[in-house]
């Protein structure tokens, strides 16, 4: 990790990473791709620490790992800039703001919920969450169907039936689909996956 980006001393570099991740995480609503675009603005366009074409790969790695993509992306940037210590600082910086805010909200949740106006508001929002869930389902299922390949469509139907009708554990379904696609990839039938 030597080179031109090592202008700051190690400690100051780590603090700088932490601070930037903290601010981006604290100010970003909506998560996911929104945070990625903020990180991209900061670390690629402003600081020039990471190349533009590298960003696509970083997003691919972030999406390949389980967990929260935004946290993963900042951890990879941390790794790129300052190795394992950088990964840790980036992770802490990204996690802390939502953690602190939600702890406060959670502690007041009961009082919050008992307020008549807020209770009505939350009840109204239930329908909104329902709409968002339907929307996301249609988008994701639609993207699988649009590929017009037999195996993924069969897998989608099977997985849906298993979880909705028979209550099969999600983790088993993920493992199952992972095994099937791994087998297909190894057999060189990538076009089917």
């Amino acid at each position: 990790m030597e080179g031109k980006e090592k202008k700051l001393s190690d400690q100051r570099l780590l603090w700088f990473l932490f601070k930037n991740c903290f601010v981006i995480s604290a100010c970003t609503f909506g998560g996911g791709m929104v945070i990625i675009s903020m990180l991209q603005k900061k670390f690629v366009e402003e600081l020039g620490w990471i190349e533009q074409k590298e960003v696509m790969d970083l997003v691919a790695i972030a999406q390949s790992c389980p967990g929260v993509m935004a946290v993963n992306a900042s951890m990879i940037i941390g790794y790129r800039v300052a190795g394992a210590a950088g990964t840790l600082m980036a992770a802490l910086g990204t996690i802390l703001p939502p953690m602190l805010i939600l702890t406060a909200v959670s502690a007041c949740y009961v009082q919050f919920r008992e307020n008549h106006v807020i209770a009505l508001l939350l009840r109204g929002m239930q329908a909104g969450v329902a709409a968002v869930m339907m929307n996301v389902t249609m988008t994701l299922a639609g993207s699988v169907l649009k590929e017009k390949k037999t195996l993924p469509i069969l897998m989608l139907a099977g997985a849906s039936a298993a979880t909705v009708l028979f209550g099969v554990d999600i983790i088993l379904i993920i493992l199952g689909c992972g095994c099937i696609s791994a087998a297909m990839a190894v057999c060189g039938k990538k076009e089917a996956v």
């Binding site: 389980p66 967990g67 993509m69 805010i101 329902a130 869930m133 994701l140 897998m155 979880t163």
Partner: protein, 188 residues
């Protein structure tokens, strides 16, 4: 002990969360509401609303909120760190491999194969949450039980999300405001 339980649960959720945000709601719900009964489906839907209104990634918000609700500050720390820990390890390994070989096509194609599972997961969560909003639970589905206001609101906002590209945060907030006024005026 409850902290250990939280740690174990959220480590597992973190390890199997693919697809980000809304896609993992069902995994989280099945553990937090279904298996342990730490929250009701109503509370869980509230948390999604609250988590969407506060900054930061949805998954972290849910882990922190659940941890605090179940076991106070130690619970928050256990749940949130356990949730991120698997990713932390895997990201480091993959980043190392990436900078060594810069080629992760096989991993990518395996992960593409998870798309159907993720879509099915979201569908399952949608069934539960829509059922709760419309009938007070999917198992209580009947014409007499239907909350007409919620049905109309959800359908209208689904169309807005789909056709007008309204953001999810705006949609949930707006739905809350309209819904609360309607519920308040009709006294239901």
């Amino acid at each position: 002990m409850i902290c250990l339980e939280l740690f174990k649960t959220f480590f597992l959720i973190g390890l199997f969360s693919f697809g980000g945000g809304m896609a993992n709601m069902e995994l989280m719900r099945s553990r937090v509401v279904g298996q342990y009964g730490w929250m009701t489906t109503d509370e869980f839907t509230d948390v999604i609303s609250i988590a969407e209104m506060t900054p930061g990634p949805l998954g972290i918000n849910l882990a922190s909120f659940t941890g605090t609700r179940v076991a106070g500050i130690p619970g928050t720390i256990c749940a949130t760190f356990a949730y991120v820990l698997p990713a932390f390890v895997i990201v480091m390994i993959l980043a190392r491999i990436y900078y060594k070989y810069r080629n992760i096509d096989v991993i990518r194609s395996i992960l593409n194969g998870l798309h159907p599972a993720i879509a099915a997961m979201v569908l399952a969560a949608a069934v539960k949450i829509v059922g709760n909003a419309w009938w007070g639970g999917i198992d209580r589905m009947s014409a007499a039980n239907t909350n007409g206001i919620a049905v109309v609101l959800a359908v209208v906002f689904l169309v807005l999300l789909q056709k007008k590209k309204v953001g999810p945060v705006k949609a949930i907030l707006l739905c809350g405001v309209i819904g609360s006024v309607v519920y308040g005026v009709m006294g239901v």
